[in-house]
Structure formats: structure tokens, C-alpha cells
Symmetry: C2
Subunit: 206 residues, 2 copies
DNA sequence: CTATCCTTCAAACGCTCGTTTGACCGGACG
DNA sequence: CGTCCGGTCAAACGAGCGTTTGAAGGATAG
């Protein structure tokens, strides 16, 4: 990789870290450009506005993430007898790999958790229009594997699963990484625990 | 709006709604005081600062919530053979009652969801210092009922349970109340679905 | 060489932010 | 009566906000 990062890339990375830490309204463009060692006006030159910078920040990561998720889902469904585990792993593992990305991936996961809590219309509209189909696609894949579950009960539980995943990704919880364990192992452990928990919860008798 | 409420209460309620919608940094004191029909300076007079207003906002709801949770937990443990279901109900029902509170309860749940995404030190420190003991208390109660589960796995799963509950109860979940059903019944149904899901998830093999 | 285009820069534009100030009101109390 | 005092008020404070501007690089093409 080229040792020198472009102005756009440095802005995106700095914004990712600062938005993760202080929120979209809480981190200013002056903080972002200072952290990126870039002139203040560069944001409006390259991205047009702060709102659009936020959109591009999501696009940079989510395009790749959704592609990989749908690829893994297709692989899972191509097998003769798809299991709930493999489908949930298709959802979780790409996010896990992104979170483990060498530069900024985990910061992006925290930004994503903020986006879920965000009720502001602009960002929610952008995300649901561009990436809303992925969740529906996974819901369709899970439905035939839980034939005894009522439609309403399934929706309840998918809500619970989404909440638990978001919560786990935002790294706020009581579980701290033990001193002797690597960050990589900690994430892998989280994914293992999550899939096990979610599968059992979804399979509970109606 | 509600002229018989005190200035402090009107500020807290307006702040709850606006912080839920726009975040702590995204909603200004001018918006809050305008919505509360109160002078701008009233916030600093009654609360000292915006940060402290946020703290008091959490204190108003969480003091009562944790008290009721611990009361119900004590009742569950007083029975000859406590079950996972009754213990989880002690955690869930008070939160659901709060969410269904006639004025502002659901807005507070959305604020709470934002607090989970918040990585800023001030709010996190306040919450963990004042209310962190509750989750530990429930963990102690649940532990003997899941003797085969490792300590770390238990904490992971309680994290998932708390996250699922929080996100399910802020109103951006998929499940809306059907027209023919009362709010009370809807809440009861939600509790049933959640406890069933959470019990199965906790009981998953380690 | 000059001309062109893309990018960077310091400076400034209105505007909104959280907070502070000092005056003013109205009931309580001697 | 006058004094006090918790509460409310309009106004202002300095700082920081997102965005815009116009000039200045710097590489490339003719």
C-alpha cells in the first residue's frame, strides 16, 4: 500500500475515530481536520458538507460489509441443509472481520452502534435506503428454519437479536478483555458467544 | 403544556424527549427550554450545567427502576425454588412498566439506548458508579441456576440480554402494537416474548 | 514559456452554543 | 410597613460551530 494516505482517506479515518468517541454532533470538523492534519476547508471541498461526510463514512465500510455478508449467506443457503448457525455466522463474521481491520474498523463499529441509536431522519433514511435490504434478506433466510414460530414472535425475536448484536458490537458491556488475551481472540470469543446465545433464543418454544 | 408541573420537571421531560430525538450534543438548551416553556437561564439555575441536567435526567428514572428491580428480585429469591423466569421477570417487568409510563417513559428508553452508544467518559462513569451494581446483583442471582455456565460466558450473555431489552424497548424496533390490543396487553406480551427468548439464550449449552 | 486544473490555505462569514449577569417580581416574615 | 429571598426574566458574554471565499501553490499539457 502507498505509504502516504490521501486527504480524503485521512479525513474519513479521523472522522471515524472522533465520531465514535463523541458522536456526530459532538465532534466538530475542526477537531476532525486537526486530527487528520488537514486544512479545515478540505472537508467541504472533498465532501460538500458534514452530513455528506457522514454518509461517505458509512458507504466506505458498508458497501464491502454487505457484499461479504450476502456472499456468506449465499454460501450458507447453497448447502443441502442450511442451519441457523451458519446463517447467523454469515451476518456476524464479516462484521467481526471488519472490526478487526488493522486501521479504524473497531471505531467504525462504534459509529454504527451510534447510528442505531440515532433517530435523526437524514442518517436513518440514508442507511435504510442503501442497506435496509440486507436485514430483510436475512429475515427471509431465517424464517423457513423456524416454521413453528408465529410471525409476530419471529419479529420480536429478530428485534432482540439485532439489539443484542448492536450492544455487543458497541463494546459498552460488562465484559472487559482479559489482560492475557489478544484483541483478536476477544472478538472471536464474542462472536462465538453471540451466535450460541442467538440461536438458542430464536429456537425457544413459542 | 402541563402548567401544573414545576419548572424542574418540565425541563427534565422536555430534555428527555429532545435528547432522545437528537442526542445530548445535538439538542441545545435553547431547544429544551423553548419546548418546556421556560426561560433559558432556568437550566443553569436549577441544574448548574447541561452535563448535570443529563445526570439528573437519568437519576430521576433509574433510582426508581433499580429499586423496583431489586424488590422484585428479592421476592423471587424468597420463594423456595426460584426459577430463571421469575428472576428475569424481576429485571424486565419494571423496565417495561417504565417504558409504558404515561408520560415520557418511552423517550427515556431511547435516551438510555443513546447512553449505551455513548463512550464519553463523564456519562459512563456516572452510570457505572451509580447503577453498575444492579447487573452484578442479578448475575449473582442467576449464577446458581446455571451451574454449568462459565463465569465469563454468563457475563457475555447478560450483556446480550441487557442490550436486547434496551433496544427492543426503544421505539425503533420492528414490533408495533396491533390496533386491536391494549397498551397493557402489548407490554405483557412483550415481557412474555422477551423472557422466553432470554431464558432460552441463557440456557444454551456452553 | 504560459495556461489550465486540481488542491490547499488563512481568513472571514453569520450563527448558535453554554453560561453568566443584574434587574425584577411576589409572597413570607419581622 | 420594609426587608428578604427563591424564582424568573431579557440581555449579553466569549467561544466554537459549519460553511464560504479568494488567493496561492504545484503538477501537467500545449
Amino acid at each position: 500500500m502507498h505509504p502516504h494516505f490521501s486527504t480524503k482517506e485521512r479525513i474519513l479515518s479521523a472522522a471515524e475515530e472522533l465520531f465514535a468517541r463523541h458522536g456526530f454532533a459532538g465532534a466538530s470538523l475542526r477537531q476532525v481536520t486537526a486530527a487528520a492534519n488537514v486544512n479545515l476547508a478540505a472537508v467541504n471541498y472533498h465532501f460538500g458538507s458534514k452530513d455528506n461526510l457522514i454518509n461517505e463514512l458509512f458507504r466506505r465500510r458498508l458497501d464491502d460489509l454487505t457484499t461479504r455478508r450476502l456472499e456468506m449467506l449465499a454460501q450458507a443457503e447453497a448447502q443441502p441443509a442450511p442451519t441457523l448457525e451458519t446463517i447467523l455466522e454469515a451476518f456476524v463474521l464479516p462484521a467481526l472481520n471488519l472490526a478487526g481491520d488493522r486501521f479504524g474498523g473497531s471505531a467504525f463499529m462504534r459509529v454504527l452502534a451510534r447510528a442505531y441509536a440515532e433517530h435523526d431522519q437524514t442518517l436513518r433514511k440514508f442507511l435504510s435506503e442503501n442497506y435496509g435490504h440486507v436485514l430483510k434478506r436475512f429475515a427471509q433466510a431465517i424464517r423457513p428454519l423456524l416454521p413453528d414460530l408465529g410471525k409476530e414472535a419471529l419479529y420480536w425475536r429478530l428485534d432482540f437479536v439485532a439489539g443484542a448484536l448492536t450492544y455487543a458490537m458497541s463494546d459498552f458491556g460488562a465484559v472487559k478483555r482479559p489482560p492475557g488475551r489478544s484483541e483478536e481472540d476477544h472478538r472471536r470469543q464474542a462472536a462465538r458467544e453471540f451466535v450460541r446465545f442467538a440461536v438458542a433464543g430464536l429456537r425457544a418454544p413459542d
